[in-house]
């Protein structure tokens, strides 16, 4: 029994490694910049969704306000760089740390709420933050921040001519988020989180400090999402409140995980790989008439998946044998 479990864990790791290698080789064959752009976004959302999944999937605290942490990461990096000349690499860590702290500060009152009340609180808080940033003159208010790009530089993490460095960074980020999840899944925290999700009272009776578990999950999740936000700021080199803290980011983090399989290791990756290219393509092909069509695609997909496969797309893959018992 024990051997089976260890074997399954190892197989997940090997598969992730193989997929990462394959993904790393794709740009050798795909030179189209537009497609590369979609690949960068896909990997970024895979990473974000994976991070969201830690708090909302494993620990069961559904957040629809993660755009806040994404925006905080983006703003911290951009502000530190434009105002103080701090390199984005440090900005990422600073953004992550600030987000983790704010996640815990917000968690302190919010984790007393259960179920829908918690979800509503996360939405409201993110919206308040959005309004604050829209009116914060020092941070560019509604006009946002333009990050000056002066040629390619790994040091400043900006590349005008090629998408490839962004691609590899996004790939690394997705790998890190996946690996952190993989590692946490078979750790004390992983078990505690799932116990908290399933039944907080029972968890408490078994020595799990429910409140601390939620705080831990929130901090890890917010940290990783903020790093993603920092990356995004560098990638687009211009940010304003709506474009990094808008509600759509909260949704775009949640949807891949929900579609692929919430609270599963492979769900967010699978969901992102299907959802992000699909929405980008519908937006550009059907496009012109506006932002509505991709949302219709989301909606349809979510309805279809929740009707046919309530546990997410991973449940159809015997190829992903992680929790075979969970899939039946």
């Amino acid at each position: 029994m024990d051997a089976n479990f260890a074997q399954r864990r190892r197989r997940d790791l090997i598969m992730a490694f193989c997929l990462a290698v394959i993904a790393a080789l794709v740009p050798l064959f795909v030179k189209d910049v537009y497609v590369q752009n979609i690949m960068v976004l896909t990997l970024m959302y895979a990473a974000l969704s994976q991070s969201w999944n830690i708090l909302s999937g494993y620990c069961g605290q559904i957040s629809l306000g993660h755009a806040l942490y994404f925006g905080l990461g983006a703003y911290t990096t951009a502000l530190l760089f434009t105002k103080f000349g701090v390199l984005p690499w440090f900005g990422m860590l600073a953004g992550g740390a600030i987000s983790a702290l704010i996640a815990m500060a917000l968690g302190y009152p919010c984790f007393r709420l259960r179920g829908h009340y918690f979800v509503i609180a996360t939405i409201v808080i993110a919206e308040i933050a959005l309004l604050l940033f829209q009116n914060w003159d020092w941070a560019g208010a509604a006009l946002g921040i333009d990050i000056p790009v002066r040629g390619d530089s790994w040091l400043k993490f900006q590349f005008a001519r090629s998408k490839l460095p962004y691609f590899y960074f996004a790939l690394a980020l997705a790998c890190i988020a996946w690996f952190v999840t993989w590692w946490l899944e078979d750790s004390k925290w992983g078990y505690w989180w799932r116990a908290v999700k399933d039944n907080p009272d029972a968890a408490e009776s078994l020595g799990v400090v429910v409140f601390n578990s939620k705080m831990g999950a929130a901090a890890v999740s917010a940290f990783l999402v903020a790093v993603g936000g920092s990356f995004y700021a560098q990638f687009v080199s211009y940010i304003d409140p709506e474009s990094v803290m808008g509600f759509q980011f909260s949704l775009l983090m949640a949807l891949p995980a929900v579609l692929g399989g919430i609270g599963t290791l492979w769900g967010p990756v699978l969901g992102a790989v299907i959802l992000i290219p699909l929405t980008e393509l519908t937006r550009s092909f059907v496009g012109g008439s506006g932002r509505g069509v991709d949302l219709i695609v989301y909606g349809t997909l979510i309805v279809a998946i929740s009707l046919a496969l309530p546990k997410g797309l991973v449940s159809v893959f015997s190829l992903f044998p992680w929790r075979k018992e969970a899939a039946r």
Partner: protein
Amino acid sequence: MTALPETPLLETRGVWQRFGGLVANSDVSISVGRGEIVGLIGPNGAGKSTLFNLIAGVLPPTQGSIIFDGEDVTNLPAAERCQRGVGRTFQVVKSFETMTVIDNVIVGALIRNTVMRLARKKAYEVLEFCGLAARANVLASDLVPSEKRRLEVARALATEPKLLLLDEVLTGLTPVEAQTGVELVRKVRAAGVTVLMVEHVMEIVMPLVDRAIVLNLGKVLVEGKPTEVVRNPEVISAYLGDRHAVGA
């Protein structure tokens, strides 16, 4: 300070619990000795579950104190009491439904084993002990009710408790299942765990326990050997009404 072995493992001293105007427990003082199996019985609404929750640390008593293993634990939360050796099951089973049976038990085992491999090993041992090893990799939601009850016990045992609180684990089972349950409780005690059990079904619980405490209307009505308790007129009247007590 380490407690002397002669002191009782658990003591409640003058415990009161009020919910608004309702007095669920009034001045309840009971003690449970080390290695005992004590039954907590009483008609519906007697305050058994409330007392249980007070001992497990779900909520603090309105008044009075709870002494566990020589220490005052009155104001400690449930998780902290688990750490000190109080394990419990729930009357309405609270399995972690999306997790496998073994994972359910690992959650309990983690409090004493920080290394995952050891926690997993411990969880398997506990499942063996409870006769659930064959179901280790099944989702908890796929278990039948009697297995879920046993999983509750297994999970609590994995925390290596000194005192195990069993909340109606034998209720609602078929006679055969109940008998298996009784044997499991005996095995638990033989392994050195003190047991305090709330139970409804008198004919099952009475031969099992060393001592019975009868609660009625939030107060301790009688306590003593099971054979004496069942003949006590006050107990009969509490359960069946005055007419029967007069007849006895």
